[in-house]
Assembly symmetry: C2
Homo-oligomer: 466 residues x 2
């Protein structure tokens, strides 16, 4: 007896009329007057369930099969045959349907065979993976993550996991979470009443990282092409639909590279990941297209076919000023672009992805490379139709004297960055990189409205663990 | 002009006599009396540097080439030719050697072309990736991580990232780090002087996760085969050579599976990863063999060729009691196995990997499945020659009444685990999984003595960020 996943059973890779065993959870059951039950069984391996045809000649037909409800777990053995029914390729003519687990009190089981609101599902986070929506999101997340690792591997990058607990604030950007093992009620104190952090686990104040970029630069200046893919944390904006306190970030860093190389890498990267999801998650994408956001598939297809436009920030401001569109925030040189500006540029001005380059130095981080104009730095944002900024990156300041100048402007103390300055003292090279939030990518690909639906466990009051 | 990595230049995939550009950092320079300098250049893409042959006819020969020291960054253009020298396949006959960055004060540059102690290198964590040892470790880490994702993908698993910040202690195992944004000096307090955690970022006390296993079970009971690969944290034992406060863990979880399926998965998994590293990191493994631990390669080869032995814990205790070896800790039924016991079983008793199964219930976690004997649970440890335990796993208790009994024994309150109990109330199925530390795997594969050398950034006092 061949145990097969529902995916394999449906995709034609198992010869018809083979005896198979499929295992999974019941989605629906329908009984015909002729004494046959049609049980749809899902195992999560693919979007569609498989139909198991259970005749009343089964010895446990009345005792078990007729009691099956959504969520029950079954092991079904029978013959895999081409299906006569519409919309399905194969079905199983069952010789045996064994129930492993019924559902306690089916009437109160939260995942009924109907559409639930995403708000409701956030409160049953442990059961929502059993729904069409979260099964599909999980498969897209997986496929995208695999594609990300594969893309970098094929391009000769090495994955580096930078520290999660850190003593430094990567870029002065973002509120941080403190990590401590001190007794919160009665912490050890110094003579002046301050907390004595030397008594803490690491002997100093420690935080959760907001970015692995600075740390990964040291690996870049030794191994040439590296990337991080790991969790990062921001203790802010936790109640919007666009921000998460905990999210996964992807941060490639390339040596012997300038801002153009960086933009080229970003373009290849996004297209590769989108293509993988379109190819490998076709049934899931079809579902998002139909039920989540019309046009989401076409948006990705067009994205892949387009070459990215590149616009200087200064030109972008001019374009926005001349636009007939009325913006909530007036575009002004020296201010960061708002989402409305970004979307106008990508959607209306050029109608495809745009890389905006060379931003005013005062609105960008200290480590970005000063341009010859003395006013802008070699920063870039990749703007995607339908969402706005999806990637932010820059060429890094590789000249020690310029870096010191910028650190001074930002009020940073060079002593705390001695190791980072060392990278400019010892065999410095032009290098560049970018960062993007993994969940934002999922939101974009699946057409979601709330970023909490892009992570396996949302943090909501109703959920036991958050 | 074709820009090629050192790896590509050396591996024969570029035709001889092609004009190429290679970029990297100088390892060594040797000048011949005939007025030719031999500059070894590494870009991290592979273990070996490439030899760049720079004649004194280069216009900047005296000004630049003769000033090159270890760590300088260069861009070299020239002809790729078959090397006459021993131990190298190809070299570059340079037409141009451009220096991008010299080394400030070469005499004090920490990474000299000689062997440094690993202790010293931990204190220059930002520069140690430029050494042979840490270049090789980084490539092995990358290759192993890629192989892990690829293995699970090919087997039909989905990657799930479970929460890093959590309100619950996964298994009552391990001291946890608290995560907070409250003012540590003057935290908000309740009337009774306790900390008012409701005012904290998440509205309750929060910690860093010690394991994603419980969370991933919910995805397993919907998608059948899932795994985590992410950071976990333990606030203990930070000063040993075997433990890390922050480490990456791999935790697969399979539905419709028992302990035997779990052991089979562990066997396929380890062999797959070891094979990938042996095949893809051959030059790095050769280095570890020669400089780190003699026999480390052969150990992995033998591992791959062996079938795993399986021994019941109860039998293992008998074997240990009968052993002629004198143990520091006497083996006794009811106690956990010590590393000396584990290594004896794997190395001396059977001479290959061993899975010890069915441990006394009192020494194993609450969620492990009670065996019919009423004394043992369906737990397993995979013991590897040369290190002892490398994987720990179990079949999970899928029967609600038995789970409740065990939770009671462990003093756990069912109310806090309602969601976990739900998984047993709604379509419960036999399921199993295991966990292993990624860094421990690296230690084993590279023959390292200190687990701090298996992570990109060690936490040592000399290092600015830890």
């Amino acid at each position: 007896m061949q145990v097969v996943s529902v995916k394999k059973a449906l995709d034609g890779s198992v010869a018809p009329d083979t005896k198979v065993e499929v295992r999974g959870w019941v989605r629906t059951r329908r009984d015909s007057k002729a004494g046959i039950s049609f049980v749809n069984v899902s195992d999560g391996s693919t979007f569609d369930p498989i139909q198991v045809v259970a005749p009343n000649s089964l010895s446990n037909y009345e005792a078990d099969v007729l009691r099956l409800t959504a969520g029950c777990s079954v092991v079904c053995r029978g013959t895999l045959v081409k299906s006569q029914g519409k919309g399905q390729s194969f079905e199983v003519q069952a010789d045996e349907v064994r129930v492993l687990g019924f559902v306690d009190d089916p009437d109160t089981y939260p995942i009924q065979p109907k559409q639930h609101s995403l708000e409701f599902l956030r409160e049953v986070a442990h059961l929502r993976p059993r729904t069409n929506t979260f099964g599909a999101i999980t498969r897209v997340r997986h496929t995208a993550a695999q594609a990300i690792h594969r893309f970098f591997h094929e391009e000769g990058f090495f994955w580096v996991n930078t520290p999660i607990i850190t003593a430094s604030d990567a870029e002065g950007a973002g509120q941080m979470f403190r990590v401590s093992t001190l007794d919160a009620v009665n912490p050890p104190r110094t003579d002046t009443g301050k907390i004595d952090w030397s008594k803490d686990f690491f002997g100093k104040e420690a935080y959760l990282t907001v970015s692995g970029q600075l740390n990964v630069e040291a690996y870049c200046l030794a191994l040439s092409k590296v990337y991080t893919f790991g969790p990062t944390f921001r203790a802010e904006n936790s109640n919007t639909t666009r921000h998460l306190a905990e999210f996964w970030m992807i941060e490639p860093e390339i040596a012997f590279a300038d801002l153009n190389d960086d933009a080229n890498l970003a373009e290849r990267f996004l297209k590769y990941v989108f293509q993988a999801v379109l190819t490998e998650c076709a049934p899931d994408m079809k579902f998002f297209e139909e039920r989540q956001q019309k046009g989401v598939t076409e948006r990705l297809e067009k994205f892949i076919q387009s070459s990215f436009e590149r616009i200087d920030y200064t030109d972008a401001i001019e374009i926005l000023k001349k636009a007939k569109k009325k913006f909530e925030y007036a575009p002004e040189w020296g201010n960061d672009l708002q989402t409305e500006h970004e979307r106008y540029l990508a959607e209306e001005h050029v109608g495809r992805p745009v890389v905006v380059m060379n931003y005013p130095e005062q609105i960008k981080a200290f480590y970005m490379r000063m341009n010859d104009d003395g006013k802008t730095v070699a920063a870039m944002d990749v703007l995607a139709p339908g969402i706005g900024e999806i990637i932010g990156g820059s060429q890094r300041e590789e000249r020690l004297d310029r870096l010191d100048e910028r650190m001074k402007k930002f009020g940073l103390h060079p002593e705390g960055y001695q190791w980072f300055r060392d990278l400019r003292r010892y065999g410095s090279v032009p290098h560049a990189g970018f960062g993007l939030g993994f969940e934002r990518l999922i939101v974009y690909m699946c057409g979601l409205q709330n970023i909490r639906d892009a992570i396996p466990y949302p943090r909501v009051p109703g959920w036991a663990q958050f």
